[in-house]
Amino acid sequence: MAWLTAHWAILGKTPKSLDDYGVIACSTGAITSAEFGMWLKAFTSGTMEPKALPRVSTSHFTTGPDHEPWLGLSVQTLPESQDGFHRPYAMTYYACVRWADVVAAPTRLSYRAMYEALMEMDFSGEKPFRLPLSAYDERRLAEEINGTARRAAALLLTGRPVCVVRAGRLSLDRRLDFLDAVAALLPYGFRHSLAVSTWTNSASRHRIRLSFAEVAPTHGTWELPWEAGEPVGSYPQEAQLYEKELERHQGADLGELVRRLATAAEPRDFEDVSDRAAAARLLQGRAAGPVALPPRLSVEDLLRQCGESIANAEERRLGALTTQLARRARERVPDEDRKTYRVFARANPVRLPESLADSAVVQRFFESLLRLLYGTPLRAADVEEMLVDLGGPRPSEPDLPPALLAATDRLLPHSTPSGRLLIANLLGPDRLYPVLDTMSDDELCGVAVQSRNRRVLDIVIDELGRRAAPTDPRSMESVRHTLTRYRYLIEAIGSICAAEESVRNYQLVLWLSHQRQLTPADIDEVLANVDRPSETFLLGMAALSAPGTASTLLYAVAGNAVRGLGLAGTAVADSVTAGLDRMTAPANEGKYRRSRWRRRRPGPRRPTRLPVLGLVLLGTVVLIVIAGLVLWLVLT
């Protein structure tokens, strides 16, 4: 473990802001806000794509009169809010350290260690951070090295950037580990001028030298398909030689090579031909004998022993085991392994004795456990998983120790309000109400729509009910407006609740938004805001409709069916309209009964049988009268 002083900044926007991207907070001291802004924008990985977030990138720059070199790492995330133009925007959390500090640290700095440390930091105040960095693990890095990493390292030594393609399926963790593995196959000093990114946009002009992308840039970049194993013939000779040299190192020998390259920390530049040639020479020096690495406990064994020490109230032993567990949680944990550990945790619930209820060690254990099972930062979906995995035999009524809830609360970033609501709800009303008080009506509805969680939905509807009390007309109006904007939470309710509950919830939401039984005007207004109301929503409306609204609702139901079946504008729709007109004939003069889909087709209409008969009869009568007149004139 090493500690480095890191200066930090946040580049982004504040919700609803009309401003451009800018530094919205930063540490003071060696780097100014303007410098942070310039370097962060200069080392952008290109226009953000929500599917590629979070995105981790590194950068390098010099500052000050002595051109002091710095290394930076940024994590770009997508907040749930929009800017003032209703556009999504990215938030970039950034920390940078002096190269001199990196070189002087007792352990080498890996991108993953810096990323994990940065994710733990509280980006507030003005002071620089003290970043706790885990030890440079040559053995783990060696395990991450594959053919693509070897080739990427070799190609970087041609001086041209490398773009790895066909790897969109890889998780962020795997991509970050790959970037670390490539850097580990070069003398450490090259990190001084190496900008990497877990995802770049190739249409954007960027300064990233090693990255993943959907397609490679058109000019000047090596395109490297992930694990494609293509022949090396088309690459320059220096790259071929370096790759072949790397291939000679396997297993423990490879770990030793990584260790040896990590000692070569004098600054090197990819643009400098002599630095690149020196890298090849360094690699050709043979490694010392393999290093024996101690065996490690499996994670399941660790969890089992932790559970035993908690059950036996062995706090000291738990502390030692938690340290190991924390280390394992900080390592790269494949998603498959996380699933296995969750199954294990579900099958082996932790039984916390009274004596350890307030133990700080237990809380630390739960934090490590959460990191191991779900990764960091925790997401709202992880909280829901956690309720199932650690909530005991009845997940609908989870029995979670306060230490676990506190640990969850601490690991949840502020950008996951639904997770926070769930945890606050479990912690009790004293914790829930302060959280609710910080949320606007808009945020509440947004959370309900996004989380699609039954418990969150109940909390939100309850809270909206509290706010829409008739004693506060402004608040009532605000709730009404928000529910209209969020289309009465139709999709959220429909996707979470069974039919019966859906109808009840729609009824409740419609009541909250209108505070009375629905009049024909209300029905028209509601339907104008809803594109295709579901059957349960229409039933909810029916259940809340006032007297005299039957025909309005009938037209609405029929219109919905006609539109849903794609019959709008057809003869069938016309006949349905005609039928409805007949059914509601005595009350058919109200303008609200006109249906939007009622439209007569242009063109000649077929004459009906009755007028033709009438015409024939009329003609016959006229003929008889004329004939009679003529006869009368002739006879007289």
């Binding site: 009309l18 451009d20 991207y21 310039m38 924008k41 200069a42 952008t44 290109g46 226009t47 953000m48 794509e49 929500p50 390098h60 720059f61 010099t62 051109h67 749930e80 929009q82 800017d83 003032g84 133009f85 209703h86 556009r87 999504p88 925007y89 001086g159 041209r160 950037p161 001084h192 001028s193 946009n201 190739s202 249409a203 954007s204 002009r205 960027h206 300064r207 030298r209 959907e214 397609v215 490679a216 840039p217 058109t218 000019h219 000047g220 970049t221 600054p267 530049d269 990819f270 643009e271 509805c445 947004g446 729509v449 904007r485 969020y486 289309r487 709008a568 504008g569 939007r596 889909w597």
Partner: protein, 333 residues
Amino acid sequence: MVDTDSVPGDPERGREPDIAMWGASGSGKTAFLAALSVALNRSGSPGWRLIGENAVSRTELAKLRDTLLQARTFPAPTEALTHYSWVILGPAAAARRRWWWPWTERVERAPKFNLDFLDLRGDLYAESEANIDKQALVDSLVKSRGLIYVFDPDREARVGDAFKHLDAALHDVAGRMLVGDEYEDGKLPHYIAVCITKYDDPRVLRIAMEGGFTQRDPHDELRIPRVPEDRVRDFFRRLCREARDHNSEMILDLLEAFFHEDRIKFFVTSAVGVFIDEDLGRFDPDDPVNVIDDANGGLTIRGAVRPLNVMEPVIWLGRMLRPGAMRSGRWHG
């Protein structure tokens, strides 16, 4: 330390752009580009297409189209200088017989031209020239010959920074190009399509309709009110007067001071067009809004995407920059 002023590898990344997008953040530059291929597909003369010249441009074009047509929303804000190399293909004229050899028909060449577009984050225009990205931007502007200047009346009414974004970068470009003797008339050589965006915005439509700038095209079944070509400049001046920043009134003067008047053309555009109620089958002045809030607080496109005047500025610039490529003459926009 590496020279961070340059992009690693090939710093020029191939050609310089022909057409640079110019406008403040959020003014709709990328949305305009996203709508271009839809506009070509929907154009009155069938056969117009937009294709990416290389894998990167093809991928980006597909993403932009999907954003508008499938996700029914707008592209994310652009964060870096972004290049698109696109090829615009037009319909070929009908085959003709040569008067001097009437026995065989001669297949007419279809209009086809390559255009490289430069898109970027709008705030870069207002940065100081000390900023390393601004230097790259000014380099590109100097080398390009076509500009699409995007003026967003909605943003101008709310923020009012169009003048700032135009003035700073214009002086930087002029400083590089007009100080020497190359351009003796003292004007920049670019063709500039001034595009008033977001015509579908109710406020913009209202100003256009109530100000008497619109008229109806009798051949337009959708009955969308349009600002005729000879009134767009006045409409632009009017919108500049409505802006939050009084300096906006100087934008037109600034453009005409730096560019040849006959190389400036004004367009009223909308990336998604106004809302057309499919039941009604035509534009409804009481219900024109085609962009509405979605459940997450973002924006969603309500009806069909019918770009207005998006293809026209590009084709005009194409005709000015690549006159030979437009020879088939089927399109006279």
